[in-house]
Symmetry: C2
Subunit: 399 residues, 2 copies
């Protein structure tokens, strides 16, 4: 551990957080040193938007970075400014919850390439003063993580107590442990994989083609023309949403039940509840998400392949790692099935890493990490408590 | 068994077949008696297009009806007039093949609602002289089967030796056995289900929304405006195509291999082979299929629920059935998994039907019924040979 960040950094954090107390927190990074992206481009003076929950202790040792999934954002445990709904991990973050804000300082940033204030296709390119749109460089999961590391520098946090995330968030967790092992005490990749499979890529490609097939996409320049490819993005969301739920969950939630009718209409309205539900998922999604950001983030996920970047051997990504891992998967997740988590565990075993693994019994499918799964929360709480003891964090309350 | 069809029927068949010898065969049905559809509408003077292979024996006892799947057609074992490709079940139908044309008379008709010559949204409504488009009535699997039964009347075939089909074809097989048990000696439903699950409906709904989101769909009136919703239909096809293959097959076929390049491009071209393959599937599909027909046929499948039509008890659909069944599923089929076939078998067991069941080990996913799966072909051949003996069909060659 290095010494805690200096007074200047602390002052900057406080000033920044005070300024954005009632709105989103957002910093401009890459002023002194650009962020070198995997594609070769250097990104300067780019914004990163984030939220924090709880309080950083004096030793700056209680920070947990929460990494969000494809369509998540920094509003993990606060009201979403566009939808007015509670945070996507409200169930997880708060006083007495597994990510206990009485104890930990939670940081969650909108990923690079996102559309909630961080640099991405729907933000302004400072070099031109115009929207990036498709001139924004294609980014990778590692790029997202490097940007987050710059945010932690800004916040004066040398080492995270833990980094946690599900789905694409889990990919970031793995990259964190691989790129910055000395900055991570514990890593918790949930419902994720160390590479995107052909089927994963295929589903994303359908979504991208749906967006790009929408005439309102206008070659990516829709903002300039005052239009938005809502129909294509809604279809992309619908297709993806099916993959987030298990067949059993869909059956349990909807079965073949009809929507506000007792007999089928012999037409193309939403006769079935599952149709109505999916349409609603598509329609509500477009109000809060940007189509180009969807292209960029799905692309980053498709490119993700940790083994390929380490000579084809996943274990090489974690050689001599000091990080303690807790790998979690769900029985009914067919998007990132347990076999993918086992591959991660085997690689970690091969380098004699400190690793716990649990496959949680759940019928909620991939989305199990987002919902109330008591066993998941119990396992996570247990792991965090053990890790906190090893890390020497005070046991009761925040400091 | 009734007596074979009269001379008039035979003459009509021969005249009809001679007239269409070099093109598709097509008859106009419902002249004397309309086809009463499940939606309540009566269909008169509607065309049904079909192909035959092999020769009907003098006893008219060797006919096998092949029922095609969602995007199949009557060209089961002949060159497709639009694509120039060989038939979708060429591997199955022919001299010495499991559906041996030296022995059996194979009939395959384009389903009602289809787009290869049978009555459907892309055909002319005889009452108005205009394209049906969305004024075509929404049809069901049972309607398709009733239309096929009228075709068999026309062909002078009182009883089928067998009816066989995979996927939606299997649904028709189940309806045949249920609606016309005395007209079916043996029934072979393959890779299918007795009802469409919530997940099945969800995937279809994504496809329909993709089509209807395409501005070129024009509320279903695209033909009138000289346009076609190619982009939406291609996206629908891509989404559906993923469900036809197993995750393992996609991995084996494509993995994360790149398309004509050695490194990723950091762009939105088809970097991966699986993307290129899916795009090709979408683009080639729109050349041979009609978007409105896709809406109608997916709707018929979604409405399919045999138990619901029999007091919620699937077995009631087959009470006292004289039909001998061979139910087949594939291990890697996640669209209509083996559990669905087991439900059918359990229902048949409950009514003491004569039923064989085999789950074929295959990594080809749902599409296993279309490809070279030796065990599938071996089991099918064995069942047909046994059934032919019971039926008293001559063992060698055609008659």
């Amino acid at each position: 551990m290095k010494e805690p960040g200096g007074a200047a950094a602390s002052a900057a954090v406080e000033a920044s957080e005070a300024a954005f107390e009632t709105t989103a927190r957002r910093v401009i990074l890459g002023h002194e040193r650009s962020l070198r992206l995997d594609c070769g481009i250097g990104l300067r003076d780019f914004p990163l938007a984030y939220q924090t929950y709880g309080r950083l202790n004096a030793e700056r040792s209680n920070a947990i970075l929460v990494c969000h999934a494809l369509t998540g954002d920094q509003y993990a445990a606060s009201l979403h400014p566009r939808t007015g709904k509670s945070g996507w991990w409200d169930i997880m973050i708060g006083p007495g919850k597994p990510l206990d804000t009485e104890r930990y300082f939670i940081v969650c940033s909108n990923v690079l390439g996102g559309c909630m204030g961080s640099a991405g296709p729907s933000e302004i390119d400072p070099a031109t003063g115009e929207l990036w749109s498709l001139s924004f460089p294609v980014i990778t999961i590692a790029d997202m993580v490097r940007a987050q590391a710059m945010l932690l520098d800004h916040l004066g946090i040398d080492q995270l107590f833990a980094v946690i995330g599900g789905s694409m968030g889990g990919m970031q967790v793995l990259e964190w442990a691989s790129l910055f092992p000395e900055r991570v005490f514990a890593a918790i990749p949930v419902a994720t994989a160390a590479h995107h499979s052909a089927q994963n890529i295929a589903f994303h490609e359908v979504g991208r083609q749906a967006i790009m097939a929408d005439p309102d996409w206008m070659g990516g320049e829709y903002w300039r023309h005052g239009r938005r490819p809502h129909r294509g993005l809604a279809v992309a969301r619908m297709a993806a949403h099916i993959t987030y739920l298990s067949e059993g969950k869909l059956h349990q939630k909807f079965g073949r039940r009809l929507q506000d009718r007792t007999v089928v209409t012999y037409g193309f309205d939403a006769d079935f509840q599952v149709e109505s539900y999916l349409r609603h998922q598509g329609i509500s999604f477009v109000e809060r998400f940007d189509a180009n950001a969807y292209l960029y983030i799905t692309r980053a996920m498709d490119y993700f392949d940790m083994a390929a970047r380490h000579g084809g051997v996943l274990a090489n990504a974690f050689r001599d790692t000091p990080v303690r891992f807790c790998v979690l998967s769900f029985t009914s997740d067919w998007l990132y099935p347990t076999a993918q988590s086992r591959r991660i565990v085997h690689a970690l075993n091969a380098v004699a890493a400190n690793v716990s693994f649990a496959e949680i019994v759940s019928d909620a499918g991939h989305d199990a990490f987002l919902v109330d799964e008591p066993e998941f929360h119990r396992v996570l709480r247990g792991f965090l408590t053990g890790a906190a003891q090893h890390r020497g964090l005070p046991m009761g309350g925040r400091k």
